[in-house]
């Protein structure tokens, strides 16, 4: 056994028990899946192994020796590396400079030529390429991730921990990542693959350990368990995916014509997007993160200025209306970040009125708090938010925050709902709840623009799909006209 963790318990200072007596082991040269919902303790367990945090009790054995790492730098010396969801590269520096920076912390005084030589050696051996001279910020996310993997390979690790590595990748990039992982395995490197996606577990891992609510459910040879069995073990019960009924399209409610929008750096992020939206329709906008989705959503919501083009709702031109006025016209927007959609340091009641403040004002623009409280109570009840009205929203779990955010916008019964990554980072149960909520909203004859990088979500929910690439729609059509492959190609900018 390369890694053995016995009876790991972690209690955070605020009393939250993240792990309860978890056993974990990974043997040499395997790809070991670590499967669980959000909050199951996957990342916590691996951060303990990596030496980033300390366990409350339990022991860690690595390469046959009991270890107690003082920090990541310590565990790296023993041959453990971790690749995070958010990469730790300096965006304004080139790849080779990043590699040099990283290696300097382990081997002071190492020269950049030496780093380059080693990097090229690795690329040769493992058959993957990273443009060493390019600036990190100019690279696609998938390539950045390869650079990150290259970085950890330089320290000649025995074990690499990957934390949800596929969450930001396109299907094609995922395929490439898996190929590289198999090469690494051939090379004798052990890989721990943290994920909550069942398909990926089946596809890439040799064995899988399932965690649920801080406890180990079990460890299995991957071929011996089915996706359904894994799902039940992960969630604790079966999950029935939401079913989309046949579409019943009404009249057109929204029309966007030749929309041009600039991003924060002043560059064109949306380049001439046009579409129309009908009653009872969900229009999906698929694409890799950072292809103009944020700017498009913000321009539609009125948060970001439009350079050219028109936005029309119910025949009324709203292109120049500010956000607050658009919200009153029956538009609602759920941003992809909960830190934007919610004021985390305010309580539930205060958050419930954020986007409809006017409805809660009395004489002299006084806020009628009892009215706000009853709205908050309504959201809590209808959308199963678990939390107290007077508690700050930051203490809610991600799933509850998301329910609050989605609930707050849906309860206003807008005519058009723009929603961005509604289930990002949510566990299976919360995801299905949000998806079925959106579908129910559609059944009521209302319209949704769903921006998502999750292709399963796009296929599951949308009547029509548009693919955005570098600010342009690469293709738009009915759900049935797309396959995963075609979607993947379009997302990568290839006409198909």
């Amino acid at each position: 056994m390369l890694v053995e963790m016995r009876g790991i318990t972690k209690v955070y200072p605020d009393g939250v028990v993240a792990l309860r007596g978890v056993d974990f082991e990974a043997s040499e040269g395997e790809i070991h899946g670590l499967l669980g919902e959000n909050g199951a303790g996957k990342t916590t367990l691996m951060r303990i192994l990596y030496g980033e945090i300390k366990q409350t009790s339990g022991e860690v054995i690595f390469s046959g020796k009991a270890v107690s790492f003082k920090g990541p730098w310590d565990s790296m010396r023993s041959g453990i590396s971790m690749v995070y969801q958010r990469f730790s590269l300096v965006p304004t520096m080139s790849v080779i400079e990043n590699l040099h920076l990283y290696l300097s912390s382990l081997q002071s005084g190492i020269r950049i030529e030496e780093v380059r030589k080693r990097a090229e050696e690795i690329m040769e051996r493992l058959k993957f390429r990273v443009p060493l001279e390019a600036n990190v910020e100019d690279l696609a996310v998938g390539v950045q991730q390869r650079a990150e993997i290259m970085k950890v390979l330089l320290s000649k690790p025995k074990l690499i921990i990957l934390d949800e590595p596929t969450s930001v990748l396109t299907p094609i990039e995922i395929r490439e990542l898996f190929r590289i992982l198999k090469e690494l395995k051939e090379d004798g490197i052990t890989i721990i693959f943290i994920t909550h996606k069942l398909k990926e577990v089946k596809e890439i891992t040799d064995r899988v350990t399932i965690l649920r609510k801080g406890e180990r459910v079990g460890t299995y040879e991957t071929p011996s368990v089915s996706e359904e069995e894994l799902a039940v073990m992960m969630v604790g019960r079966g999950i029935t995916p939401a079913k989309r009924g046949a579409p019943s399209l009404g009249r057109e409610v929204m029309r966007v014509e030749d929309l041009w929008v600039r991003d924060d750096r002043g560059l064109h992020a949306v380049k001439g997007v046009s579409f129309e939206l009908h009653e009872g329709e969900i229009l999906g906008i698929a694409g890799v993160q950072g292809n103009g989705q944020l700017e498009l959503a913000e321009a539609l919501a009125g948060i970001r200025g439009v350079e050219r083009g028109r936005i029309i709702i119910d025949g009324k031109d709203i292109t120049n209306l500010p956000a607050e006025a658009r919200y009153r016209e029956g538009l609602a927007y759920i941003p992809d970040s909960r830190a934007v959609g919610l004021v985390l340091e305010m309580n539930l009641v205060e958050n419930s009125i954020l986007t409809s403040l006017r409805d809660f004002l009395g004489k002299g623009s006084r806020i009628i708090w009892p009215l706000a409280s009853s709205r908050a109570g309504e959201i809590i009840e209808r959308f199963n938010v678990i939390g107290s009205l007077r508690g700050q929203v930051k203490y809610l779990s991600g799933g509850n925050q998301q329910r609050l955010l989605v609930g707050r916008e849906i309860i206003k019964a807008p005519r058009v709902l723009i929603v961005s990554e509604p289930t990002q980072g949510l566990d299976l149960a919360a995801t299905e709840f949000i998806r079925s909520t959106l579908l129910k909203f559609r059944e009521e004859g209302r319209s949704i623009i769903l921006i998502s990088t999750d292709l399963d979500e796009i296929f599951e929910l949308c009547d029509r799909i548009a693919v955005i690439y570098e600010g342009r729609f690469m293709g738009m059509g009915r759900n049935e006209n797309f396959t995963l492959e075609r979607l993947g190609l379009l997302m990568g900018g290839v006409n198909a």
Binding site: M346, L354, T355, L357, S365, I367
Partner: protein, 329 residues
């Protein structure tokens, strides 16, 4: 809420302990010093109320912009300007109300200028605030010793005419009218912040500019508005002190100096909450008055009260540091 009270009381107790130990190490009879500070600090309620009044207002001058995420360190300058313009208008018109309004307007205008420079040109408000503080300080000093001095008493400025002075609200129990004005203002500010749309928007902007933008609130106008209100509070502080207590500015400005900075401490101790600020200002004023008495009676250094207040503020920030460390571990 309970946690806030606990943190504030703990920090006060802890800083007292530190002050106590320091005094012993310096060879003073610490028990005696502290009993003088507290006894003398509370011995004259009227004087305590008078001293608390400007402090409540300069604390608001700091705290209201602070809730919107602006660090208004210019309370000092806004306070001076309020005092000066109030004095001038009172001298010319003899009307207290007019004089108060002018004082608030002057303070407000100054802080709006700082806010506009910040919003439109991206200049950090701390830099401009400190510069304005000094510009106004020396201008005022110059004006008082050259044009505005009283020919009969050249060590001070012209004074507020009897008709414009604000006297006791209830004479026989000696409540100076300026104190209830300050308390009432504080309550109005509480209402504004926590029960009005304007205050709600300001708080959202302060906590999360991104969320504010998403909700369709304009962060810039909230910043400017909060500074306008803050500056007006600072100006009102100067105005009330002049009209209700000193009636003139001494030519060294010792009666005004430092009040704006003390307000920062009072604002922090009151946790930027207008009601907390009323309490913290009274408490700090007690320490200041007691500290002055202790200097005379026990010969401890003048800086005792200042040091204690500084200590309280430092200890108050300790919970933040603890939280920060906890999050990292």
């Amino acid at each position: 809420m309970r946690k806030v009270i606990l943190e504030v009381s703990l920090s006060i107790i802890l800083s007292f302990l530190i002050g106590y130990t320091t005094l012993i190490l310096m060879g003073y009879d610490a028990t005696k010093v502290f009993s003088i500070v507290i006894r003398e600090g509370l011995s004259n309620p009227t004087y305590l109320m008078i001293r608390s009044t400007p402090l409540i207002l300069t604390a608001l001058a700091f705290s209201i912009p602070s809730l919107v995420g602006v660090f208004n360190i210019g309370g000092e300058g806004q306070f001076y300007l309020g005092a000066l313009s109030s004095l001038l208008i009172a001298h010319i018109t003899g009307n207290s109300l007019l004089s108060i309004i002018t004082g608030m307007a002057a303070g407000g205008l100054l802080s709006v200028l700082i806010a506009v420079i910040k919003v439109k040109r991206g200049v950090n408000e701390v830099v401009t605030s400190i510069m304005f503080n000094w510009i106004i300080y020396f201008s005022l000093l110059y004006l008082i010793s050259t044009y505005l001095f009283d020919p009969l008493m050249p060590y001070q400025s012209i004074s507020v005419p009897k008709t414009a002075r604000i006297d006791y609200l209830i004479v026989h129990i000696q409540i100076p009218a300026i104190f209830p004005i300050a308390v009432l203002t504080s309550l109005v500010m509480y209402f504004l912040l926590y029960h009005s749309a304007l205050g709600y928007k300001m708080r959202v902007v302060g906590i999360s500019p991104k969320a504010a933008r998403y909700a369709g609130f304009d962060p810039e106008s909230s910043i400017i508005l909060s500074m306008l209100i803050g500056g007006a509070m600072g100006g009102l502080g100067g105005s009330l002190l002049i009209l209700g207590h000193t009636h003139a500015i001494d030519s060294t400005m010792s009666g005004l100096y430092g009040m704006g900075f003390a307000g920062i401490g009072a604002g922090l101790l009151g946790r930027n909450n207008p009601i907390g600020i009323i309490l913290s200002s009274i408490f700090l004023s007690m320490l200041i008055i007691g500290g002055e008495a202790a200097e005379l009676r026990a010969r401890v250094p003048t800086e005792l009260a200042d040091a204690l207040i500084g200590m309280i503020v430092i200890v108050l920030s300790a919970p933040y540091i603890v939280r920060l460390v906890r999050v990292r571990r």
